[in-house]
């Protein structure tokens, strides 16, 4: 028992102090009927050395973006570069083994970092208020919808475009499923939402309109017009954004014009310095206008002063929360993703305005280079005409998407997300993402793999160095 302290002598002394004959006696509180009369059916204990070997063996059975593969996978989770400083800070025990800062006097580290996080998010989004984070992008979107329904005073309609991440749409549907509310999906036949159909779908019962920019297909939406449509109907505009995209794209709060844009903005913050971890834990970002602050779910940190007049930070506006308000709370969300909000804070501190712009530009330039190279082949065409930011949908004229994925894997390339399972009418399409990490050599090799043109690029395994001198 490497993690417990009590020796046999300790146990005896403690039992004596308690006045119990045995630990068994202490457990007699549990009615005999409900005592498990056997050992749990679990594999036997492993020491650290065995565990280390075991987990390394399991890890070696996977092929990951840093462990042997070149990744073009996106769809909401991206292989962006994580600077070493992010890991250094997030692995400080004082951060990751602390908990919710209920005792502000011994939690200023976390509280100040969360205040800085909130500030960074407001600057990223152009909105007034950010909370301390939610579970992930999808649940943040769903919480934003619940905010809008609550603010909508009886409005029950939630309008989502088909170009919103399908898993976000599904999550919103689940969240609304037991409440008064209906989710209406507006088609996006050309890879962007149809503005005419959007206009038709939005009515005076509409609580909110969602728009993802760039959308799930990587395409740039007409966010200004969509926002006007929502606002004209008295509905709230909920933006789903790509935080890296804001290196070049307009901030949600500035859609239409500064201060006239989205009312709530949410995103998946994984791109901001968090590993992909097969899908989580991630970082649900949520920001909104000041007028909605009392409806915000989750924790919020505020600045105040201590008894000596020193600036400090505390959890605030807690009357929104369930540990005070119980069934009247704005949400049941109790924890936050503190460690991943911290990672995002460190990441954005390292990037700065020029760094985020350059990162965004590299994603843009490289993804467009690959898109155009693929579109120039006989086998592929771009599925949509709309301009894209860092990912795009490519159509395999031969319709053999699964084969492409398998061939790619054999060559050490994760070539993209097949869209069939998510959009049956795009079963011949692949969603391809390109981050700043991809080199031109990898892009060229990707074209060769997808076109089965081994001659187009030298056959190299991805572990061989592209440049070493």
């Amino acid at each position: 028992m490497p993690f417990t302290y009590n020796t046999e002598e300790d146990v005896a002394a403690m039992l004596e102090a308690i006045g119990a004959a045995s630990i068994e006696e202490l457990l007699s509180q549990v009615p005999a009927d409900f005592r498990l009369d056997r050992a749990l059916d679990l594999p036997p204990a492993m020491g650290e050395m065995e565990l280390d070997r075991h987990t390394r063996e399991l890890a070696a059975m996977n092929v990951g973006a840093a462990s042997g593969a070149v990744s073009f996978l996106g769809g909401g989770v991206y292989d962006h570069f994580i600077p070493s400083v992010v890991d250094t800070i997030a692995s400080r025990g004082e951060f990751y083994t602390s908990y919710t800062p209920y005792q502000a006097e011994v939690a200023q580290g976390n509280l100040q970092a969360m205040f800085e996080y909130q500030t960074l998010i407001t600057r990223l989004t152009g909105l007034d208020v950010s909370n301390c984070s939610l579970y992930d992008g999808a649940s943040a979107a769903a919480e934003a919808v619940l905010m809008a329904l609550a603010a909508g005073k009886g409005r029950t309609r939630v309008v989502v475009p088909a170009s919103l991440h399908p898993e976000y749409r599904q999550t919103i549907e689940t969240y609304v499923s037991c409440l008064p509310g209906e989710v209406v999906t507006v088609p996006a036949p050309d890879g962007v939402v149809s503005l005419d159909e959007l206009r038709a779908a939005v009515d005076d019962q509409t609580a909110c309109v969602l728009l993802q920019q760039p959308n799930f297909f990587g395409c740039i939406e007409d966010a200004d017009e969509a926002t006007r449509i929502a606002h004209d109907a008295g509905a709230l505009m909920i933006a789903v954004f790509d935080p890296i995209g804001l290196g070049v794209l307009k901030r949600p709060g500035d859609w239409v014009a500064a201060g006239e844009g989205a009312d709530i903005a949410v995103c998946e913050g994984q791109s901001l310095g968090s590993p992909m971890q097969y899908g989580g834990p991630f970082l649900g970002v949520l920001a909104c206008r000041a007028s909605l602050v009392r409806r915000v779910p989750g924790r919020i940190v505020g600045q105040t002063t201590d008894r000596r007049g020193k600036r400090c930070f505390v959890l605030t506006l807690q009357t929104r929360e369930q540990h005070i308000r119980r069934d009247k709370a704005t949400s049941n969300v109790c924890s936050n993703q503190g460690l991943f909000a911290l990672r995002a804070t460190v990441y954005l501190s390292l990037l700065g305005p020029e760094g985020i712009k350059e990162t965004a530009n590299l994603c843009l330039q490289k993804s467009r280079y690959l898109a155009e190279r693929l579109a120039a082949t006989d086998r592929f065409e771009l599925a949509f005409e709309a301009p894209t930011f860092k990912e795009f949908v490519v159509r395999d004229r031969e319709g053999r998407v699964d084969e492409l994925v398998a061939d790619g894997l054999a060559a050490g390339y994760l070539v993209g997300v097949p869209l069939g399972p998510l959009y049956p009418d795009l079963a011949d399409c692949l969603l391809v993402a390109v981050t700043e990490k991809r080199t031109r050599a990898e892009l060229d090799r990707m074209v060769a793999i997808l076109t089965d043109d081994a001659a187009a690029s030298p056959q190299r395994s991805p572990r061989e160095p592209a440049e070493v001198g």
Binding site: G64, L73, Q118, A138, T174, Q277, T345
Partner: protein
């Protein structure tokens, strides 16, 4: 000396990160994207040098108390040691770098971990079906209630609108019930912490959907009438939900499925040592009875072979690995759908997997035994200083009361909590549960020593002897003194204005 904010440190022109030059032909951005979509300038992030970022956050970190540095008896949060071996495993290439949309054949090791976790959690709970997807305990509650709602709807029992919740329950219980479309009914508890059976029977009717119970409950008592409660809920056609926040007390000792629970969540960041991360992330996997299985969120991890799930932990591991056989199963048409994006909080689950594998069946049971021993020992040392209304026994935690001290000397639970900080202890949870006046909820966990518990009890005693004035002004030695929370709430300053 005030700690500067990141924004105070910023200076135009500093750079901490240098991106490589663009290695494809570069074109003007406004030629690639529509002008209307473009920002006039990048967002106003601070401009810093790398050493500045390192020093800022390193120094910030030391303003926190944490399990790695201090005794942290924060009741109900199970602040146990976070094994470093788990961090190492979770950071391995091949674990940390997997994308959720990878082909299944490229992630068999990961799916093996997740499949085994489903099995382990089922075995520990005594419930046969599992979803690993919920992102936190509260999310698990909500997911289970959605599952219950879907089940009742499917059964044509839409009249079941009520969720019963004891008054000592975590606030997330009623909040989750409301989000799942139910109305909540509060059931009283006795001084002992047990459900007031009279009140329970008064509130129980045929409209019950779910009774949400925390067992051991938030005062650390194993509900003496849990059997009757389950029977009566079931007799009325309702489901019993077990808030698994306190599972650390009963691993291998008692299983929720055996004492009547139909559904439960786990908090792997509590019970299975996932670190708390300054507020998160956690995870909130749930287990349910067979009849609720079809309603679980999709996907679950399944095995292609026909081997019974219950016994796979004992199979020949070689055969398990050699044929890629794990896959994501989306097949249930009755599933409530998605409760989040992607598969789940896998990073937390990997740590929990390591924890369970590190302990095995005997080790897990010993975890609970030692947690119960430590709590009872601390109770025995503390009760003479601060009365413990629930009595002389507890499971993994107990709630002491400073009521007498407040009446006699004006010293509150908060005063004691703040003064403990001066002595290098994190405070217990205060003012929860609301059923105990001036509550101090102490959960030492199994990963503390008798010496630490003794020193803590002695400090508590010393504090109760100190002048009231000194305590009202506490803490005295921390980075800041008590913050003005009222001002913060009335004049919300939620970000740094540039």
């Amino acid at each position: 000396h005030e700690t500067q904010l990141l924004f105070d440190l910023s200076k135009q022109g500093r750079r901490a990160l240098r991106l490589p030059p663009c290695d494809v032909p570069e074109r003007p951005i406004d030629g690639l994207l529509p002008a209307a979509a473009l920002a006039p300038a990048p967002p106003a992030l601070p401009e810093l040098a790398e050493p500045q970022v390192v020093r800022h956050f390193t120094n910030l970190s030391t303003q926190n108390m944490s399990v790695d540095t201090h005794f942290y008896p924060l009741g109900s949060c199970t602040m146990k040691h976070n094994p470093k071996r788990n961090e190492r495993a979770a950071a391995l290439p091949g674990i940390a770098d997997l994308h959720p949309y990878q082909p299944e054949s490229s992630i068999q090791g990961m799916l093996h971990i997740l499949h085994e976790m489903q099995e382990y959690l089922c075995e520990i709970s005594g419930l046969p079906a599992c979803s690993l997807q919920p992102a936190a305990g509260a999310h698990g509650e909500l997911t289970a209630l959605w599952v219950a709602a879907a089940y009742f709807k499917d059964q044509g029992q839409t009249h079941r609108t009520k969720v019963l919740v004891p008054d000592s329950a975590h606030g997330t219980n009623p909040a989750s019930a409301v989000m799942a479309g139910f109305e909540t009914v509060t059931v009283k508890t006795l001084v002992s912490g047990a459900v007031d059976m009279e009140d329970f029977r008064k509130k129980l009717d045929d409209n019950i959907a779910v009774f949400m119970i925390t067992n051991p409950n938030t005062v650390g008592i194993f509900e003496p009438q849990i059997g009757e409660i389950g029977d009566e809920v079931h007799a009325r056609g309702g489901l019993m939900y077990l808030d698994g926040a306190n599972m650390n007390a009963i691993l291998g000792i008692s299983r929720p499925g055996d004492f009547g629970a139909d559904m439960q969540h786990y908090n792997p960041h509590k019970t299975f040592s996932g670190p708390h991360g300054g507020g998160g992330p956690g995870a909130g996997p749930i287990c349910v009875v067979e009849k609720l299985r079809p309603y679980l969120p999709a996907p679950v991890v399944a095995k292609r072979s026909a081997v019974s799930h219950q016994h796979s932990a004992k199979e020949n591991p070689q055969s398990t690995i050699r044929n890629p056989q794990y896959y994501l199963d989306y097949s249930s048409s009755k599933s409530i759908g998605r409760v989040r994006s992607f598969f789940g909080n896998v990073g937390v689950l990997v740590r929990a997997y390591c924890y369970i594998r590190s302990h095995g069946p005997d080790g897990l049971r010993r975890v609970s035994e030692q947690a119960v021993l430590n709590a009872n020992y601390l109770l025995s040392r503390v009760k003479h200083i601060l009365p413990v209304p629930q009595g002389d026994r507890c499971m993994h935690e107990f709630v002491a009361s400073a009521r007498k001290l407040k009446t006699e000397r004006g010293v509150t639970a908060m005063d004691i909590a703040k003064r403990l900080l001066d002595y290098g202890y994190h405070a217990p949870t205060v003012y929860f549960p609301q059923t105990v006046p001036e509550a101090l909820m102490c959960e030492p966990t199994e990963t503390e020593s008798k010496e630490t518990l003794d020193a803590f009890a002695e400090t508590l005693f010393r504090i109760t002897e100190e002048p009231a004035e000194l305590l009202h002004e506490a803490p005295h030695t921390t980075a800041i003194s008590r913050p003005d929370e009222v001002y913060a709430a009335r004049n919300p300053m939620l970000c740094h204005c540039s």
